[in-house]
């Protein structure tokens, strides 16, 4: 009964912000799309690569007075870098990591990091994020239905999905910002759907990730209400809803990052109480979202395979990422991928009198293998065809894509942000000499 009341309350809250989101989405579209007169990036010719972009597409863009930029060609303009400072929280709560000589004390902290791009594109082997195509036109069509309509599912078509791990910050700063423990490495592409046998064949998913299939039933459908409400509420708390502009201004009011950090660390009565209430609420919402790991917030069940209706590329791309995240966490038997690990703190939805209730592994000192989706650990930000603001995984279509889909665009590209809860200065991060 209590849960039902909570769901109703959260749903009402979610509906209340929807109208704001709608107007905000339209504003953002106008604001963030580069205006005419800027350099056209659509005609790049590099040895061995053909240039994506058809004349019709350019024509449309010129008519609209808008020019599409491939994210890699303008990383600054296509990324909402302010998210880093907005999500950075350092508290005075202490914690310890390591044993013996490696014992270290750190501060309980939260951060978010740019980890790469996720894209969903029409043409095979077309890497829109970098503005390049590898002869995708001559490859088989990837938009045909698989088998008959009555067989696998009523979903209409599939395109191609790529996850590109590109830890830009780690590549640039390496050891300079060591307390952040930025992810390092070079560009990797752990998910290229053209080479993934599970992406277009649902029966292969039956064989490869049966634990997810087992969760899909009419009984669990009711959970979508809770998950949607929790996702919307989390987006408000994290500043990823319509109020995000206000949150951005909140960051802007400080003259420098240092001042903001000092402000966060202040121990002054009411503000501190508010922070703690916010933190506790966020923890409950994360618990709901991650317990209902097989649901993609307001978009229904996590997609198994790459089929979507094709009506709303941005929302479908958002939704598709949930399924890809599942595989990148290592949930599929088809891959050994451990691209993503658990690095955020949460507990499963509490139940009374349940002695068997599991507790996820603690990752305050180092990341851990955790082959289940963790929606609260990731944030998506539109980078192409329009530059948008950061959104929680599972936010509904109205907040994600209204008035943002651009006809003729070469798919959609999102910047993928990954959160981490950790003990700053004590975290056993790779490359810091504190390897686990």
């Amino acid at each position: 009964m209590k849960l039902l009341l909570l769901a109703i309350f959260l749903s009402v809250s979610a509906l209340a912000i929807t109208e704001n989101e709608l107007s905000s989405a339209v504003t953002i579209n106008e604001k963030n799309t580069p205006s005419s007169g800027e350099e056209v990036e659509a005609s790049i010719n590099v040895d061995g690569f053909s240039a994506p972009g058809s004349p019709s597409e350019l024509e449309i863009n010129e008519k609209q007075g808008k020019i599409l930029k491939y994210p890699l060609l303008d990383v600054i303009a296509t990324t909402q870098w302010s998210a880093i400072m907005r999500e950075l929280e350092i508290t005075m709560d202490l914690g310890a990591c390591g044993e013996g000589l490696k014992y270290a004390i750190g501060l309980d902290s939260e951060m978010i990091e740019f980890v790469g791009y996720y894209e969903r594109v029409d043409k095979p082997l077309n890497f829109t994020f970098a503005g390049m195509s590898l002869d995708g036109n001559i490859v088989k069509s990837n938009t045909a239905r698989e088998s008959s309509a009555a067989d696998d599912s009523p979903r209409a078509q599939t395109t191609n999905s790529h996850f590109i791990k590109l830890p830009i910050l780690g590549m640039i700063f390496k050891k300079k910002l060591s307390f952040w423990c930025l992810q390092e490495g070079i560009l990797e592409m752990p998910y290229i759907s053209e080479f993934e046998i599970t992406y277009k064949h649902d029966f292969m998913n039956y064989k490869m990730i049966p634990q997810m299939i087992a969760m899909f039933s009419p009984d669990t459908l009711i959970s979508t209400v809770f998950d949607c409400a929790a996702t919307i509420s989390a987006s408000i708390l994290n500043g990823n809803a319509a109020v995000s502009e206000a949150a951005f201004k909140d960051f802007e009011q400080f003259e420098s990052t240092t001042e903001k950090m000092v402000s966060d660390m202040d121990y002054n009565g009411d503000m501190d109480l508010m922070d703690r209430v916010k933190s506790d609420t966020k923890s409950i919402l994360d618990g709901v979202r991650n317990t209902l790991y097989y649901i993609d917030g307001c978009n229904g069940f996590s997609p198994i395979g790459g089929y979507q209706s094709g009506m709303d590329p941005l929302t479908e791309g958002h939704n598709d990422f949930h399924g890809i995240m599942n595989i990148l966490m290592g949930a599929s038997l088809a891959t050994n991928s451990e691209t993503f690990k658990k690095q955020s703190n949460f507990t499963y939805l509490p139940t009374s009198g349940n002695k068997k209730q599991p507790e996820p592994v603690d990752t305050m000192c180092h990341p851990a293998y955790f082959p289940m989706p963790i929606p609260s650990q990731f944030v998506l930000q539109e980078a192409y065809p329009v530059v948008g603001e950061t959104k929680e995984v599972g936010q509904d279509g109205i907040t994600v894509s209204t008035a943002k889909n651009v006809p003729g665009a070469e798919g959609v590209v999102f910047v993928v942000w990954e959160r981490r809860d950790y003990y700053a200065f004590a975290y056993e991060c790779p490359g810091s000499g504190k390897k686990k």
Binding site: L72, V75, D151, M189, T258
Partner: protein, 225 residues
């Protein structure tokens, strides 16, 4: 007598406890956060000399974004795609024709699975039957060690499965297969696929119906060059 003694001890403890609580309460009152007061400035003021972290990040990213770096990234993408398009294996091609019995298809949970109420419904390491398929499906493993046999292998499997095969190819770039056999579905094979379906070698076929699987291998010698 003992009872009286216990009562006295209890009363003394209660008084001490009450006093202690009062002490804690008074501490709480004193420690309660108070609003800030502006006491002005004393001594010399120093400006922050460290650069703003946010600006440092933006400047770093700007410096990173050079034409040279973009070209390096593009070259790396091309390299990765070429690597991923082919599954190379030293495993020998099949040398005999052999067919297995239909077997129940079990899988092992890689982690605990929790239901909406947070209860564990499956433990890590437990074995379970895969969900049943509605119709028979075919997964065909072809071997490209001798590329000249590929055409015959594909035609053989197309006939064998009435064109219902999904192909997992070893030792050949699947992009070549996409071009040579338009309309057919080719993917690079992988160690995970071979392990999951217990495929000993290629060319072979895995049939799936309901929750059962069957494997059949074919000698490479029977395919024309």
């Amino acid at each position: 007598m003992i009872k009286v003694g216990l009562i006295i001890i209890f009363l003394v403890s209660a008084i001490y406890a009450k006093n202690s609580l009062s002490y804690v309460d008074s501490l709480r009152v004193e420690a309660k956060p108070q609003p800030y007061y502006d006491f002005g400035v004393q001594g010399k003021e120093y400006n922050i000399t460290e650069p703003d972290m946010y600006q440092v990040i933006l400047e770093g990213v700007s410096e990173f974004q050079t034409e040279e770096n973009i070209q390096k990234i593009r070259a790396r993408i091309k390299e990765i795609v070429s690597e991923r398009a082919i599954f190379k294996t030293d495993k020998s091609s099949c040398s005999v024709n052999k067919i297995s019995k239909w077997e129940k298809d079990y899988f092992t949970y890689k982690s605990d699975v929790v239901n909406p109420m947070g209860r564990v419904i499956s433990k890590k390491g437990e074995k379970a039957l895969t969900p049943p398929l509605k119709m028979e499906r075919f997964l065909c493993f072809i071997d490209g060690k001798d590329p000249k046999t590929i055409k015959d292998q594909v035609e053989f499997f197309q006939n064998k499965t009435s064109g219902q095969c999904i192909y997992a190819a070893s030792n050949i770039d699947v992009r070549k297969l996409w071009k040579s056999f338009p309309g057919l579905d080719f993917y690079p094979s992988s160690e995970e696929l071979l392990t999951r379906f217990k495929v000993p070698c290629a060319p072979s076929i895995v049939r799936m119906r309901g929750s059962e699987t069957q494997r059949e291998t074919f000698s490479i010698k029977q395919f024309k060059r």
